[in-house]
Subunit: 214 residues, 2 copies
DNA sequence: AGACTAACGCGAGCAACTTCGCGTTAGTTC
DNA sequence: GAACTAACGCGAAGTTGCTCGCGTTAGTCT
């Protein structure tokens, strides 16, 4: 991987390099709030940040690199709850995600990164790795639930967390509407009920049919 | 809306216009299979289709217009089942969707359209309207289920269908993996169980907490 | 404090993408 | 079948986006 698309960790963390990076990423974030991903051009970021255009191309190679770098700075902004029960955890996490994506700039960033991934293989890797890591972390919530006996022992933690996230990204990328509280509540309820029923077990129920169970 | 991004319906449907459109859209589809959305350029489509570059720009204005036009041609490729029970319908539809997205060119097309929507407001409108329409149609399946008494009467049909689709788009756009049969089965089961439990009711359960119900 | 190195500013230059004007071809109409 | 019109082919011109070389500045090391 070249200098573009890398995580953080500059050679000289405390100096001018970090300062310009800060200025540029802040400018990208602001630009995302003014017209969404469509308005994001290297030229405008250069003007807003006060950093020269050539410098942007040198360090980030293209606009895709910019949004990828910004994404990686967001890692810890959605806290992972531990309420003691899985339905409680799911609801808390769903609400956090909902609150997170209430900010249009964050939605635009997701849009921009997904769009970047469609054009640039490096951006695709960054995107996949970012969410894969988050999924594994959040999966601990499910692992605890299995240990407490709330879920079938062969439940796939990452499948559960993917199911929790999916409706939000559908709303953002496909339905293209705002993320509201109702979506968070609905999703939390749905995932909890489905997980308890064994929908996310690694080995599907042997009969192969959706279990009725009424 | 200009000539670009429009649905079908040419002024001279049976002539050269339709023939070139066919050639161009076929070329776009083939290109999507050779390197994904990143490889899609006006130049390459022109070469593959044998249609002159200037003609592409005249009729579709840009690459975004191309993929939008292609998307609209896919409307009827996923059949809507009517098996007599909602779990049966959900499973059949999930399998159809899974089979549909097993084709990498279709996945690339979705990626390309979502990416286009991030940059071009007209493409965003096409994308939203396309899925909105499909969602309403598929929602009839849920309406029938409500009439049969399988679901709470205030269940939101479109919310159910969005929940059925969401995991596939998460897989394609975020996790960036192949769509397999396990995903279809898991999703069908999850949505059925969740819908039956009232997760997709228009008015959330009054206590506001995920219903435990054990 | 002075030498050293990495990053930045600057403008010119290159390349890719997009558009335009004009002549030609195909399809429609009477 | 002959006039008419819309779409297409073609090449050139125009525009935008990106890169390069060089001089300068900021931060680091001894």
């Amino acid at each position: 991987m070249t200098t573009a698309h890398r995580a953080s960790g500059e050679a000289r963390p405390g100096g001018r390099t970090a300062r310009t990076r800060q200025a540029v990423l802040a400018a990208v974030f602001e630009e995302l709030g003014h017209g969404g991903p469509a308005a994001l051009s290297m030229e405008r970021v250069a003007q807003r940040s006060g950093i020269h255009l050539a410098t942007l191309y040198r360090r980030w190679r293209c606009a895709e690199g910019l949004v990828c770098d910004l994404l990686n700075g967001l890692s810890a902004d959605v806290p992972l709850p531990d309420t003691g029960t899985l339905p409680g955890d799911l609801r808390a996490l769903a609400r956090s995600i909902g609150a997170f994506y209430a900010d249009e700039r964050i939605r635009s960033l997701i849009e921009a990164v997904v769009s970047a991934a469609a054009r640039d293989p490096q951006a695709a890797t960054v995107l996949r790795d970012f969410f894969s890591e988050r999924l594994t972390l959040a999966g601990q919530m499910v692992v605890r639930a299995v240990e407490r006996g709330e879920l079938p022992p062969d439940t796939d933690p990452e499948a559960v967390m993917a199911a929790l996230g999916a409706p939000f990204y559908y709303r953002i990328l496909i339905a293209r509407g705002p993320v509201d509280a109702a979506l968070a509540e609905s999703t939390a309820t749905a995932v909890w009920v489905a997980a308890r029923a064994g929908a996310y077990r690694r080995t599907e129920p042997h009969n192969g049919a959706p279990r009725d169970g009424r």
